[in-house]
């Protein structure tokens, strides 16, 4: 970076054991899908996020993984205030976010930014890159126009694009380059936390690797923290230091990366890991795959007890009354452990 750039690594690096940067407690987001009719009838609610809790420390990258419909994107959007929470709490740097009014949110937006999945839909096609990258600064009243342009150029350079392309429009860039513009926009206000919602899943493999490398590099350089939403465990493993696995609106297991991959405990995590096809024919030939039966149940009418029990191979082998009646709590594997999971059977007999 040259000294004309207003970007600097202003934040301290590394993890700290102090209070968490982001603290999510029993967060719920329910959508009404059917209201009571004129003549009565049943209200129906979709339980997209149904009691999620986790902590994210400064400098950490937390991966939230799960399959379609598990509520990971809804959780992210509720955390950044794009959806009002149904209940629960989201605290950022000690401040409660769920009760903020739109005007109270504005100063917080400087500190929390988001990167979206679809690089084609998330950039305004009628704005130049200069205007896309300058807009956050304009809204927050930072800098004069000339200064903002210099800032935008520095941002482009930071994400590996040519700063001279500042007056181009999104359609003049490829998908991977557009995603870099989306990342530059998220960096414009020098945020502390970036929520990334499937930032690489729309990209081709070779481009995906470029963007993953870039996200890793920016995290180090600007001391960022990430909440990283993805369905691909291998991608999450590459970037995140702590990983939470979601199923039907709940976190079923959370642990530090190496611990999760070395000792996956929840039967769903195990099945998910074993289902990932690996680019290695020898391993593919010899590995034991846990093939789950059936589909993910509807979050409108989730199963009683443990939401995973209808597909759970462990429950099928050793049925237990607790699995069908009690929702298993997310608790540490042993007292004080950073590895938590929610399974009656793995916890042992009652």
């Amino acid at each position: 970076m040259t000294d004309t750039t207003p970007l600097a690594s202003s934040h301290s690096r590394g993890e700290s054991s102090g209070p968490p940067l982001l603290e999510v407690t029993d967060l719920k987001k329910h959508f009404q899908v059917q209201s009571k009719g004129l003549f009565g009838g049943q209200e129906k609610w979709l339980h997209a996020v149904d009691g999620v809790h986790f902590e994210l420390h400064k400098g950490e990258a937390l991966g939230l993984v799960g399959e379609s419909g598990c509520g990971k994107s809804t959780a992210a959007r509720t955390i950044v205030g794009l959806y009002p929470a149904t209940s629960g709490s989201v605290r950022f740097d000690g401040r409660e976010l769920t009760t903020l009014s739109p005007s109270q949110w504005r100063p917080m937006r400087r500190r929390i930014q988001m990167i979206f999945q679809d690089p084609y839909a998330s950039l305004d096609p009628r704005q130049t890159v200069a205007s896309i990258l300058g807009e956050p600064l304009k809204i927050h009243g930072i800098g004069r126009p000339a200064r903002r342009k210099i800032h935008a150029m520095a941002l482009l350079e930071a994400v590996g694009l040519n700063p001279r392309h500042i007056h181009r429009y999104p359609h003049e860039f490829s998908g991977g380059q557009r995603q870099r513009i989306g990342i530059a926009r998220a960096l414009a206000l020098e945020p502390e936390l970036i929520v990334c919602d499937e930032p690489v899943s729309a990209l081709d493999v070779s481009i995906q690797a470029q963007v993953l490398n870039l996200l890793g590099e920016l995290k180090e350089r600007f001391g960022l923290s990430y909440l990283f939403i993805a369905h691909d465990l291998a991608v999450v493993r590459h970037l995140c230091t702590r990983i939470a696995v979601m199923y039907l609106g709940r976190i079923v297991e959370i642990a530090d990366r190496d611990e999760l991959f070395a000792n996956p405990t929840h039967p769903y995590t195990r099945a998910l890991l074993s289902a990932i096809p690996e680019p290695d024919p020898e391993r593919e030939r010899t590995r034991q795959r846990i093939v789950l039966q059936g589909d993910v149940p509807s979050p409108i009418d989730p199963p009683s007890g443990c939401p995973f029990h209808p597909r759970c191979p462990k429950y099928a082998a050793t049925p237990d009354a607790r699995c069908t009646s009690l929702i298993p709590p997310l608790e540490p594997a042993s007292p004080g452990s950073r590895h938590e999971f929610a399974c009656h059977l793995e916890r042992g007999p009652a």
Binding site: V205, S206, Q210, A234, I276, P277, E278, P279
Partner: protein, 338 residues
């Protein structure tokens, strides 16, 4: 005789931006019961290759040419529409990526499944229904006799994809063209569908061309892999040879780009710089040269031909379209001879 033999297949689209050579001289053959993985990124021409084989490229703007496309001894490109229809869905069938857009939302599952049976096998509606129910049972759809009367929107994504597979296999085709059959599915459902495809292939001896961008999927499914880049086959090899020692810089780059469950997460991925070229304005030399880490002087001037190489351990033949292939043969693992 090979089940399918494709010689010098070319597909071009005449667009406002110039001529796009989507497939540019692709040749390969496929044996009975074999699975061929066709791998490449968006725009590499892998799907267009499959569509061209079945005469499904709209013309204009598309123009399909080839020296020959022999399937069971007949040249598919010389057949008229009526003759092609007797092969499509019958001897060769296709599974598409998105089961929601490739089924008719207004027809019940029964109507969609029995159409091929009535048309190709001359079965009555009653017989066809019975066979369709058995087919749904084969792909693991619970209570098929109820599901058959439902509409596509009443099924989940994984079930719809299984219905597509059942539809593709009802006439027991000799060749199944599967275009990204699991890309729209979640991994646990993908695992179910892949297991199912393997089992059914084993049962009927169907040959499969599996088009995908996912090297993990082909590693477990295919016997041989063809890698496509900018409309050309840049490398062909048996699955184990390809993964053990990729002999084209693009294949090497692709393998390095994938984060796996066993790679070191603290290392950067070996990404390929840049982006795929514009097919309407290809560079004069090797199409991969602008992104290539192994390029030499001649790469920007001449187009590399496919070189045939032999893997001494197995005697297997493989090809690579790279001038610098000798440098890619690491001394420790090589032994591959030209």
């Amino acid at each position: 005789m090979a089940l399918l033999e494709v010689q010098n297949l070319r597909v071009r689209f005449e667009t406002h931006h110039g001529v796009v050579r989507a497939v540019d001289g692709v040749s390969f053959s496929l044996e009975e019961g074999e699975t061929l993985g066709l791998v490449g990124e968006s725009g590499s021409g892998k799907s267009v290759t499959n569509l061209a084989l079945l005469g499904l490229i709209p013309s204009p703007p598309g123009v399909v040419e080839a020296d020959r496309v022999l399937f069971e001894g007949r040249d598919l490109l010389t057949l008229n529409e009526r003759e092609l229809r007797s092969i499509r869905g019958n001897r060769i069938s296709m599974i598409f990526q998105d089961p929601m857009t490739s089924m008719n939302p207004l027809l019940t599952i029964e109507r969609q499944l029995t159409e091929v049976l009535c048309l190709h096998k001359g079965l009555s509606r009653r017989e066809a229904r019975k066979k369709a129910i058995a087919g749904l049972g084969d792909v693991g759809i619970p209570s098929p006799e109820k599901r058959i009367d439902q509409y596509p929107h009443q099924l989940s994504g994984g079930m719809r994809q299984r219905v597509m597979i059942a539809m593709g296999l009802l006439c027991e085709p000799r060749l199944l063209l599967a275009d990204e059959p699991t890309t729209a599915l979640d991994v646990t459902i993908q695992a179910q569908v892949l297991e199912l495809m393997k089992a059914l292939q084993h049962k009927h001896g169907t040959a499969i061309i599996l088009v995908t961008h996912d090297l993990g999927v082909v590693a477990g499914m295919s016997d041989r892999i063809h890698v496509m880049y900018a409309g050309k086959l840049v490398e062909t090899a048996s699955t184990s040879d390809l993964f053990q020692l990729p002999l084209h810089p693009y294949t090497k780059g692709l393998l390095g780009s994938i984060p796996t469950l066993h790679s070191d997460p603290n290392e950067d991925l070996d990404s390929i710089p840049g982006a795929p070229p514009d097919l309407a304005a290809l560079p004069p030399g090797c199409s991969f040269e602008p992104r290539c880490a192994w390029k030499a002087e001649r790469c920007s001037k001449e187009r590399p031909e496919r070189l045939t190489l032999t893997q001494p351990s197995s005697g297997a033949v493989r090809t690579s379209a790279c001038f610098e292939v000798q440098r890619l043969l690491r001394p420790t693992q090589s032994g591959v001879t030209q």
